[in-house]
Symmetry: C2
DNA sequence: TAAAAACCTTGTAGCCACTACATGGTCAAG
DNA sequence: CTTGACCATGTAGTGGCTACAAGGTTTTTA
């Protein structure tokens, strides 16, 4: 398989495949005499695994660790469990911030009714007011830095 | 106000403040004789506005547009409405993918029971199987590229 | 047969929103 | 008078790609 064919089979841009090779995620394949990369089934499966993990929104570093564990079948699998749990906690946290975010944005929307100048715009007024009224979290003792929405 | 004081008052790292100035989001303040930046109340309010928008997860380009509209009170405020709506749609889309994601991860978790080798790990098996069984979306006609979780 | 197109190669730079570091100047307290 | 906290600038790194540029190869078309 050439890189383009592998890309088609997995829906991955060839540039991304080369990128995965560059950062050591996908092993470098053998080359044809003309220098083209020649992939086999093992590469296809590995790439599919990577993309599935990415579809689960895992960072490439985590994928790297899972691949390593796959390559060493005798290792302890406790790490897999931990990794998935950590990732799930991360996703759930992000979910919560996003929900709060959507609520705030919904409140904001509809404050601006039709055509008028920005000077009278309810949304802008609300944003400015909220920014001013906002106490800095790091000042009332809790967190050292503002809890950023990620 | 020096940059550190402004940073404390708004919970923003001084390096981030300099960054905002560099990309033209925060106007360059006057300088003291020693070269230190000297900020006033207007800067503080503008920075608070920026951070509030960022807390709503808006990209800086959107914040830039809102600031421009704030600076031009006679402009049409329809843009504000559109911007917020677009952003809300974006957030809601992301929320949906994240929810699907969390469900998948929850299914995955618990497939690995206790201590054994990775060769017998249910999670890893599941991941590999899912990756193999996964038809490529771009092959059954719908989207040109796989719908990425963002 | 020639030209055009589609593929491949490498390397580099850009995206976003910061963050970290290196190197050096300035200022207040002990 | 030294120590430490602050400030200045500029550069490089983060993640996960994406987009070139400049060239070589292969396939298709006229």
């Amino acid at each position: 398989m050439r890189i383009g064919e592998l890309g088609q089979a997995t829906c991955v841009d060839p540039e991304t495949i080369r990128y995965y090779e560059r950062i050591g995620l996908l092993p470098a394949p053998v080359r044809r005499t003309n220098g083209y990369r020649a992939y086999g089934l093992a590469h296809l499966e590995r790439l599919a695994f990577i993309r599935h993990c990415r579809a689960l929104d895992m960072p490439l570093a985590d994928v790297q660790r899972l691949l390593h564990l796959l390559d060493h079948p005798l290792d302890d699998c406790l790490d897999v469990d931990r990794l998935i749990n950590t990732h799930l906690a991360h996703v759930q946290g992000r979910l919560q911030s996003l929900q709060a975010l959507a609520r705030q944005l919904e409140q904001l929307r509809g404050r601006c009714h039709g055509r008028h100048t920005t000077a009278e715009c309810g949304i802008l007024h609300e944003l400015v007011a909220a920014a001013q009224g906002e106490g800095c979290v790091c000042h009332d003792g809790s967190a050292p830095n503002s809890p950023e929405v990620i």
